[in-house]
Amino acid sequence: MIVNRRDLLKTAAASSVLLAAPGIIGRAYASDTIKVGALYSQTGGLSVVEKLLASAVQLAVDEINADGGVLGQQVEVVVEDGASDPKTFNEKASKLILRDRISNIFGCHTSASRKAVLPIFERRNAMLYYQTHYEGFECSRNVLYTGAVPNQQLGNLIPWLVNTHGRKKIFIVGSNYVYPKEMAKVTKKLLADNGAEWVADEYLELGHSEWAAMVKKIKDSGCDAVVSNVVGDSIIAFYREFKNQGITQEDIPICATVTGEIEIQAMGAEFAAGSYTSVPYFQSIDTDANRAFIENFRKKVNDPNVVTYHSLEAAYFQVFIWKQAVEAAGTLDIDAVREKLGGQSYDAPGGTVTIDGDNLHAALTPRIGQWQEDGQSKIIVASDGNIKPLPYSAYGETADNLFCTSQGLLRDKL
């Protein structure tokens, strides 16, 4: 099966090279390789996660090179270390764009690092390929967002939780920074739309792992479900405390937007068993493409136990989206590539994804998974096809009334 897919890609690549040939000749800085950047933290607190993302980008590039590269040229990844520090991200982005003259960069994981590099991408008209699900409220023509936005996570989670699962009193909990706060905004809006209420909206300091007081509050609040936007290693302590204070997932299920395979593995599967997460991709998606992806990734990082998760999958498939757009444009020129990014469609490990031409976000299929005793999820709800990304859904954006369009952000609508 893998071989078949490879062959198919090979033919596709070969034919697009033929089509794109005139473009190559016209390039002023023609060399024998195409350089792209990978800007992730290789050191510091976030390196655990971000190194894997860099490996996923490298895996995709390896596969592309094995199939003949892009525009007939091999692709070379220039790796830079953001060191888990937004200021370093900014410096390294400047280095990649100004000194190395690389204008296609895969990178950043946190919103803080993305916001830190955004000005330089916009000023120098470079393109950032950003794979992490984030809070929305951004509309840059210089970023391709391949992770989910709130309406692709909460948009299916909340109606399901209230209407199918029958939970009406929701405790919203998160880490104290912009992502959970924006997610809480969307959650409240959706709860009101579906006739349920929220009983509390509480935050714990980022990176803090003392949950005793908060979990007691949850226990005493009279809620019948928790929506968790907790991030980082706080997640692990949260689920453990939850179980250890004697709350069961049947009484008060935790429904999370961030908790993924990597956190489940770290906390021990028994603590999360029975809880839910809403993201577009789960390792348990049972397709040949996904199995091949998991196997290849494990080989790449030389670790048979490594898990795959949403942003990892997006980091991988966005490289193919980039390749398709470059080949469709026939050049690396950013304005031409951007033109072709909208509408690109790719059969990613988790299913087909399409880039939205209006806001350069990915249309994805939201899924709700219930965590099992083995640390994997059972997908219990999958939306019917891809859902259009709406980065401003917290502020009233709908598919018929877009705030973020190909003309940029329509500020008067906010």
Partner: protein
């Protein structure tokens, strides 16, 4: 209300667990030991490794962690700290360096990852310690359900505190340690082998941190940087309690833990953290030597 006090007690016990070792190395020996948090980290890794490689239970990891970290502490004292007594700021820098070394050696698997050799349980990733089923869930005490693991931590902390107190106040070794706290030169003049006692004291303090690491591994993630945030809490307690006073350390951890729990429950965790820092600042301003401090002559 029992539950609120219990949560406070639990927070206090965790603070005390980390601060106990510091109270000895910082309080008694005047070494600002920035590597203390990394001893906690190593204790946690010992738990991870003894499960993976020796298939030992969580409880068996406690003495092993104590021995491993005590030995590392002894080596650190012999190689570095010994040369820096009475140079407070230098100990800070040197032990900070040791802290980075320890973190990186875990992250780089003692450098073996450069050669493509990977040791399971080490490396930059998050590690998982499974808590024995006895300690999961709740226990029924005085009409309320209490988190079993937290009860266990409180018990371990109580035992360690008693042991430390007994060693300091009921053994001849403890007399020597206390003599050195008061006046190292005079102690040496009285025939106490200051170097040997200091080395053992430092090793004991490090061993306590190792046991704290085993406890922390049960509800925090285990990763190379985990110690850096813990050491800050440890210093807060020691400074508030008063340098060199074991009673001060116990009282300060109880005070800060309960304040944290009460404020967290009646308002929220973020304000609780701010209030704790405010209290610490107030104590330092009003009583620069801490709540309890030894009055020298």
């Amino acid at each position: 209300m029992v539950e609120v006090l219990f949560i406070g007690l639990s927070l206090s016990s965790i603070l005390l667990l980390i601060a106990l070792g510091l109270a000895i190395t910082y309080g008694a020996m005047g070494v600002i030991n920035m590597a203390h948090g990394d001893m906690v980290m190593i204790g946690a890794y010992v738990t991870v490794m003894s499960k993976i490689w020796l298939d030992l239970s969580f409880f068996a990891a406690i003495p092993i962690a104590f021995i491993v970290t005590a030995l590392i502490g002894l080596v650190i004292e012999r190689l570095v700290v010994r040369r820096l007594y009475n140079r407070l700021l230098d100990t800070l820098l040197a032990t900070w360096g040791i802290s980075i070394l320890l973190q990186q050696s875990i992250r780089l698997e003692f450098g073996l990852s450069f050669f493509g050799i990977n040791i399971e349980g080490l490396g930059p990733g998050l590690q998982n310690v499974s808590v024995p089923s006895v300690l999961q869930g709740t226990v029924h005490v005085a009409g309320t359900d209490l988190n079993a693991y937290r009860v266990f931590i409180i018990a371990v902390t109580a035992v360690l505190t008693l042991v430390t107190w007994a060693i300091l106040y009921r053994t001849s070794f403890g007399v020597q340690v206390r003599a050195i706290i008061r006046n190292p030169q005079m102690a040496a003049a009285c025939g106490i082998d200051v170097k040997r006692v200091n080395a053992l004291t430092f090793a004991f303090g490090s061993g306590l941190a190792g046991v704290a690491g085993v406890m922390m591994s049960g509800f925090k993630t285990v990763f190379p940087d985990m110690g850096s945030t813990l050491v800050v809490d440890g210093f807060l307690v020691v400074v508030t309690g008063g340098v060199g006073s074991i009673y001060g350390t116990i009282l300060a951890s109880g005070l800060l833990g309960e304040i944290n729990a009460l404020v967290a429950l009646f308002s929220n965790d973020i304000i609780a953290r701010a209030v704790v820092f405010a209290v610490v600042i107030a104590v330092i301003v009003l009583r620069p030597k801490g709540l309890f401090s030894f009055k020298g002559r």
